[in-house]
Subunit: 329 residues, 4 copies
């Protein structure tokens, strides 16, 4: 079966997904939609697709699924529209910044019996996936403590940050999902600390740039997340899982493998610093998962429900910081 | 000047200190005392020292300083005794498990104008010392976030644990001191989570074997500590300091540097798993510091006051866990 | 300027080059030729190209250059044919297994004033290229000693080996080119040792599977190459350059970055074991270099002459082994 | 049984051995001899030993064995003297720079039925010993190719070099012994290249500072040695053994385990650069081996015969370089 897809949005991430679709044998990019006709046309031309409008795509019989790559505030509406049209939906996170609205949309998607996959792409990173696989194979016994280090190369500009929902809903949310993925059990307690250490302007918009979060599950498993909006040495993305029989560490990716030894000691390359370069394989992996789920009629690993649960944890972090207390989820 | 020393206690750690003293040009081990005469005699014979009683050492004119290597509950009394006798004192941590008593003893030592050095040996580890030195040289700019991973190779037996003061006052206290050392600013907030994941028996004595702690300073710097009483892969002792200009990582020490590559991938040695082997250099370093401080008449880097401050943080951790809340220090 | 290209051959490596061409903005794959029409058609369909015959391509006005991806024994003839037709030529190594014939073909290409680029792809590997760049920037001062470790994951089958020209002309030749690239000076002496340690059958065809080579230049710079036809732990491809001010090491690439620590020590992934996966970036890089050289009318870094020089060194290795002596080049 | 030892020589390496003896339970340092009485007295005082003359030690009934730590040209005579006196002998390498004389001395020691151990200390390095142990355990199957990288931090001064016997007999000889240790089979062919790249003055004394050597055994196993008299990044000491089932790598030792990540990438410590610091454990290990061999009446791992065989290989290297040819051993 060939899965026929449409891209909603023709921006940077849409282009990445378009390339992933082209590399798959059983997927076909039929249409591209974008508010800016020029962008849609350019991408469509490069991929041998057609430009269509949202409604045309929703009504089109030869389109099985859509990939929503538009601004966050359009996600919920578009998911609802395409779900009702019976199209499977892949959507960049989040479903919505409001838990109630996000929950409602997930319910609509469920009712429409479509597949709603959320772009928590990091679960498809070959390194993190290998960690999860090793856990499943019993390599470290029972999971006890998860440590996630996640630092952006540089802080976003204020205009982006002010629309982002804040560090916990914009950045930490990826790590909250990763913690859930690795813990294998839902957190019931959250302690979060946050401060402004990088960009003083973040105070003005009530946001933070540095945060530490502890999650604890009912059985006492613990996860800790360390976030910073700026790491001079690159995009710092590490996961460690400590268990009863051992430990698993997924290390960072560097620009190259060359070391220079001199009287000053050794020098080596910084980390990959662009999220698209660092997560190239995981972006391709999530699209392959989406297409395969449709072809094989099975549920994706990251669904709208995962989006809602991560959002609830992000909101608990915010409450923990604001109220200077540990919060029950 | 040759510094003339006496060892109070002739057990395992006393032997380590005796060897350190022998390797120093400007130090002389004059006497050894121990409740078990045989142990004192054996150690004295090996070092060309004499066996003496506590009071004899306190009264002896040719002894400048003592190293207290006896059980925890004797520390406070011995420090007081030797301080009043005008001897400089090196004491294994803690001064006392009770903050009030510890504070009192520190005051007595201050009043006696003796040097009271506390054995937070990890600050003298060449790796952690190199991290601190690099911070002082401005290599990473302003310190923002400290991450300390500290896991014992195996859980102590229940009888030890029940006399230890609990994980926070026995084990985490080293990491709390390390956090203070690296942060360069006192924590004012503590959030701690703890559970029993390793040895179910720890529940019976009201202790924990797995803990995560967040410390936050007035300016918003954050430190996180991850503790486990059991790491199958060895003695896991890492420190990471993230700053405005860069990051510093002190990595673990392995048994050897050999890698084996086969069809299964690469295999390499586990971590050093005995604390005396892992911290060989830091035990020697702290004794050198103590002797040098006496010879040069300057204050040691780790004093009784550091012991009190770390103990207060440990107590805050306990309160945070017991009351399920963030605690102000 | 858009460079219009034709692929001669539609096999495995041709497909890799086709994908590289598609990813370049200024290159267009116009035609595909193959002795097996089905293979050519399949590849052409996937790339939006046309199937043409050799002569049609040679005569076609709208084709600037060809990529020769056919069996070794056809290289010389095809280069000659396309050079005389005025097409630029990218050819997989070698030009020919016979030095005289290879030299003649290079002369024909020179006379035709076309660009003849040889596929010594490893020079375009980002790691090895970073080593060369660091040398050029003076990071290690004067180059003194080069160490190249190059081991295949598994020995080729006898039928391939017997047509390959032997280990030195088939496998070592890449390392001989790398040594020339890193030394920056031509070798004048060769000492080679070789034996059959992996596959006894290699003795029957007069070939070897394990070899060590020393190259020495007029100024005394030395390079050593260590080859094996089988490395259980993956595709072992390392380069080290030792100079007056420092050393550069390009390390291996592993399947992922995950480490597992247990009581047995640490385990990590084997090396990438497929040459196309290991050298993905260098295959793309050499095609980009070829297209750019044509667009900018400059000479490629790896020419037919480099092929002839590497072949002469390979022949010197064979003479050294056969005659049990050091050979002057 | 306590083994009673005397030190012949009281210089730098003698002090290292004295400390090793003191740390052993079953060894006693009875006497120290040195041409300079002051040096002998200082060392004896520090160790609770007596100063004696050579003849007194040879005649002393309560001395079981001697450690010869005097200049190279005295080794043969002293070994002969003490062997005839029935003392076991540990001697720093070489026995003698002349193969004939060295062979004669080994024969004398054999005849006297004393243990003659040669200080090829590197075999007792925990890392290289772990490599050998893994080979013996079958971890890499049959040994095929050995790669030894051995570079001094800085070139010796000319006066030392001119008395040293040249790079092959002074420096490479350690690596030739290591190659024999790892190959487990005697080399029958030697190809050596050498040049002056570091210190032009070495040409004046007919010596070299940069060398590459290939050794080949009867069954075709190959070893390669890469030597330089100067490595800016520290004391470079690596061993790699490639076998039918895998590969073993003993990596370098660095000054500390700290990494600094900044916008420039990662920086880490240089290698340990002093041979006594790098080989601390192996110096202690060889003395323990010597004492144990005497106590248990078994042959040491490194004997005078190993010294003769390594010297023959060194001489073959010299012949290979001088005559520009491969040499049969």
């Amino acid at each position: 079966m060939t899965v026929r897809l449409a891209l909603i949005g023709a921006g940077r991430i849409a282009k990445v997904h378009a390339a992933a679709i082209q590399s798959l044998e059983d997927a076909d990019l039929v249409a591209v939609a974008d508010a800016m006709p020029g962008a849609a046309e350019a991408l469509a031309a490069r991929c041998g697709s057609r430009v269509m409008g949202i409604d045309e795509i929703a009504a089109h019989q030869d389109i099985d699924a859509v990939l929503i790559c538009t601004p966050t505030d359009t996600h919920a509406g578009l998911i609802e529209l395409f779900a009702k049209a019976g199209k499977h939906v892949f959507c960049e996170k989040p479903v919505d910044l409001d838990v109630k609205r996000a929950t409602e949309v997930v319910r609509i998607a469920d009712k429409a019996k479509i597949k709603l996959m959320l772009g928590f792409n990091r679960r498809y990173d070959p390194n993190f996936a290998a960690v999860r696989k090793a856990i499943d194979e019993g390599k470290i016994g029972a999971v006890e403590m998860v440590t996630i280090t996640s630092r952006d190369p540089r802080a976003p500009d204020l205009s982006y940050a002010s629309r982002s929902g804040g560090i916990f809903r914009d950045m930490t949310i990826h790590d909250l999902d990763m913690a859930r993925f690795m813990l294998g059990e839902e957190p019931i307690w959250v302690s979060a600390h946050a401060s402004v250490l990088v960009e003083p302007e973040f105070s003005q918009i009530g946001d933070f740039d540095s945060a530490t979060v502890i999650l604890e599950t009912a059985s006492g498993k613990q996860a800790v997340i360390s976030n910073s909006r700026r790491a001079t040495y690159g995009y710092d993305q590490r996961v460690e899982v400590h268990g009863s029989l051992g430990v698993l560490n997924a290390e960072n990716q560097t620009e190259n493998s060359v070391r220079l030894g001199t009287t000053q000691g050794y020098a080596s390359a910084p980390l990959l610093s662009f999220f698209m370069t660092r997560y190239t394989a995981s972006y391709a992996g999530e699209i392959e998962e989406f297409v395969t789920c449709i072809a094989e009629d099975r549920a994706p690993m990251t669904t709208g429900k995962d989006g809602v649960l991560a959002l609830k944890l992000a909101n608990a972090c915010i409450a923990s910081v604001e109220q200077h207390k540990r919060v029950a989820v």
